[in-house]
């Protein structure tokens, strides 16, 4: 068991995971400051509601899932203030990678998260399954459907 709730432990988690979690949150949220808020809330939650992790894998999985949940909350709250996401993609005329990033953000969480973890962080389907608590087959399906949706959004083949 890895106890949390102490300042030292949480600061260690910040050092180890905050960059990865911030990029993950940025793949779900278009505003960097919102992404920062989501990640900081995750770490502060460990302070007020300490939990014992089974091992380092469980620790990382919990941080990833909780970050995705917080990002999802922030998206939902912001949804009514924003343009429909497809429209936002069409309006933008940015660099190819930025366009793809915006399209990934526009995907529902179930697809966007696995796409980012696979194509940016380089996790295998099996590893993503462990991190998100999903069967590997489900991750594979989400990856495939996510790519299909991206194609539809971008109206071109993804190589």
């Amino acid at each position: 068991m890895v106890p949390t709730g102490t300042e030292e432990t949480i600061c260690r988690l910040v050092r180890e995971y905050s960059d990865m979690l911030l990029r993950l949150a940025c793949a779900r949220l278009s505003c960097v400051s919102d992404a920062e808020d989501a990640v900081q809330e995750v770490f502060l939650r460990l302070l007020t509601a300490p939990v014992s992790f089974r091992d380092a894998g469980h620790e990382k999985a919990w941080l990833i899932r909780t970050t995705l949940h917080r990002a999802s909350d922030i998206r939902r709250r912001a949804a009514k203030r924003e343009l429909p996401l497809e429209e936002a993609v069409q309006m933008a005329a940015p660099e190819p990678g930025v366009e793809l990033l915006q399209a990934v953000r526009a995907l529902p969480e179930q697809y966007g998260a696995v796409i980012h973890l696979h194509y940016y962080e380089g996790y295998s389907i099996k590893e993503i399954g462990k991190l998100l608590g999903l069967p590997a087959a489900t991750v594979g399906t989400r990856l495939a459907r996510g790519r299909e949706r991206l194609r539809a959004l971008l109206k071109e083949e993804i190589t």
């Binding site: 910040v14 911030l22 502060l44 939902r76």
Partner: protein
């Protein structure tokens, strides 16, 4: 277009170099606040607030209810006609119970649960609960959304038998919208459906503070949740009249599993801090300000007084 472009775009995001440092500093500051609060509790002065403890729940009169917007009107004001219709449906529960606490009258107007009840819900396939709470001042001074510190107050569901820090707004992925009309503030809470817990007592708590903690709530051995005896600030606890047949223990199991936490964290109140193996004497002295509690090592254990913090 390829995934290398995606990587480049992510790497080019304007992330601040000092995010790690700022986050660590935030954690340290917050940890210090927690330590100070615990120290105050351990050796400090506990004020007896007998009068403030006498908060009573009452059903509001038809006159009072008529002054307020109905849950359906609140949903309309939020731009959600779908939810407005849901609040008028037979599935909606009208509560209209109030608690007067310090300078506030807090009212739980009603709630409704189900799938596809809101146009703003991006998880249409997942059931949600929506509740409307009303906040007004008792001294007739209008509450204004722009001036009122909304962030300092929390409305959150809690469930008997589950620790308040495990089942609440934060773990149920809640969203709260606030609206103001005629000096009255309306809260519209949108949270993952709490009907799955309907075979337990389900509460809606209002209090001054943020994430539920051991300083705010206690859970008795039978699972009953109440505010901590020395909790200060406006607070109220409503019991929700949910239909027990809507309980879904399998969904609760999934919720716990998906949380990533151990089940024990949900159901057991862990000790406040590790036992240091020492025994202490507790001395209580009545003062004008209340009761002064002093905790000292038992005679013979240590020669000098040790402060607990």
């Amino acid at each position: 277009m390829n995934w290398n472009d995606y990587k480049k775009a992510v790497d080019a995001l304007p992330l601040s170099d000092d995010f790690q440092e700022r986050t660590q500093e935030l954690v340290r500051r917050q940890a210090q606040k927690e330590k100070e609060r615990i120290a105050m509790k351990k050796k400090g002065f506990v004020r007896v607030m007998a009068a403030a403890a006498a908060v009573a729940l009452f059903t509001v009169s038809a006159y009072a209810a008529s002054r307020w917007l109905s849950p359906s009107q609140v949903a309309q004001m939020h731009g959600d006609p779908t939810l407005a219709r849901a609040f008028e449906s037979g599935d909606a529960i009208k509560v209209n119970q109030s608690v007067e606490t310090e300078n506030f009258c807090v009212t739980l107007a009603g709630l409704v649960s189900g799938e596809n009840l809101s146009r703003w819900n991006s998880q249409a396939d997942k059931a949600h609960t929506y509740a409307v709470m009303i906040l007004e001042s008792l001294d007739q001074s209008p509450l204004e959304r722009d001036n009122f510190p909304l962030d300092e107050y929390t409305f959150t569901p809690l469930v008997a038998g589950y620790t308040p820090w495990s089942v609440n707004n934060w773990t149920l992925h809640a969203g709260v919208s606030n609206m103001e009309q005629d000096g009255i503030i309306y809260y519209l809470l949108d949270v993952q459906s709490i009907e799955m817990f309907a075979d337990h007592t389900v509460y809606l708590a209002f209090y001054q503070g943020t994430v539920p903690s051991r300083d705010t709530f206690t859970m008795a051995e039978d699972g009953t949740i109440s505010f901590a005896e020395d909790f200060e600030g406006p607070h109220a606890l409503f019991t929700l009249p949910l239909d027990q047949s809507k309980a879904d223990p399998a969904a609760v199991e999934r919720f716990i599993e998906e949380s990533g936490f151990d089940k024990e964290w949900f159901t057991t109140v862990q000790p406040d801090e590790p036992d240091d193996g020492m025994e202490y004497d507790v001395q209580e002295t009545e003062t004008e300000d209340g009761i002064h509690i002093e905790i000292l090592p038992k005679s013979g254990e240590e020669t000098s007084g040790k402060e607990l913090n």
